[in-house]
Symmetry: C2
Subunit: 167 residues, 2 copies
């Protein structure tokens, strides 16, 4: 049984519907939500059709997408890989998005809860993510849900550093 | 040709020897350096033999280790996966370590330069890493080498958030 096939403990109900794992038939929905996410923040996007195809191709052990709402209006993207420091997996929460008109209903929290359940069920020891200083609502949610941006209790904060390689 | 097999543009000489890609025969060296890294910072470690075996098992497309010095006294650990937003790979610099007695000789910079070359040669669009606020020397090196911890020019800083899942 692979991480993608394992049932996990999803089906968690919210006021607005269950969180469920995206399957091959959800590719267009996943592409639409990812594209909307980037357009909202004026980040470049390859477009919903391209993203749908990319999801359809990568979906599996190392890429799991969760959808919230019916019709789906939020998603979480999880990436998995074998950890170097343990026998388990490490899980990276690559994206967490709820459409603007559906915020404040608890969908982000439902997605994050389902993400933790999914990561645990897949055999992950840890989950991590990157977010920016000014994403105050998301940071508050992560902190309420047990995440920390400090290295140990009262330790220094941890930064993401990144660099493009097209040069 | 896989990312692990591709020659890249290594062999960059430093005052103290070339940076080279760790192969199966280097497993004990990799285990020793990873273990020393964690012991130096009082982080838990499964021990050098366990780490050597883990490296030997995971070594390949998604895990590349670079070694610096002869005998090796520094390493960089790179993880690769297909990007969701492009056809390329994303590269994560998981570890960068130089033994304390060999710091200040440019080995960290040589490893980081080789890491960028390796990531580019493997087809990565981006490289990212997490580091803590108080790791001042490493942060200065990352910044000199073109990394930023800000989302866009003068944008907000980016944090790593993480959570253990064993509970």
């Amino acid at each position: 049984v692979t991480a993608a096939e394992r049932p996990g403990t999803l089906g968690r109900m919210t006021a607005t519907g269950a969180v469920r794992r995206a399957n091959a038939e959800d590719a267009a929905t996943v592409g639409r939500l990812l594209d909307a996410f980037n357009r909202e923040y004026d980040w470049p996007t390859p477009g919903p059709e391209w993203l749908a195809q990319r999801f359809a191709r990568l979906r599996g052990d190392d890429l799991v997408v969760l959808l919230a709402g019916e019709p789906a209006c939020g998603l979480a993207v999880l990436r998995f890989r074998p950890a170097l420091w343990s026998e388990g997996l490490e899980c990276y929460l690559a994206e967490l998005y709820v459409a603007p008109e559906r915020r404040g209903e608890g969908l982000g929290r439902a997605l994050l809860t389902a993400a933790l359940d999914t990561a645990r069920a897949a055999g992950s020891d840890t989950i991590d993510l990157g977010t920016s200083e000014d994403d105050v609502a998301a940071r508050a949610l992560y902190e309420r849900m047990g995440f920390t941006n400090r290295e140990g209790p009262d330790g220094p904060v941890m930064y993401v550093y990144e660099r493009d390689l097209d040069g």
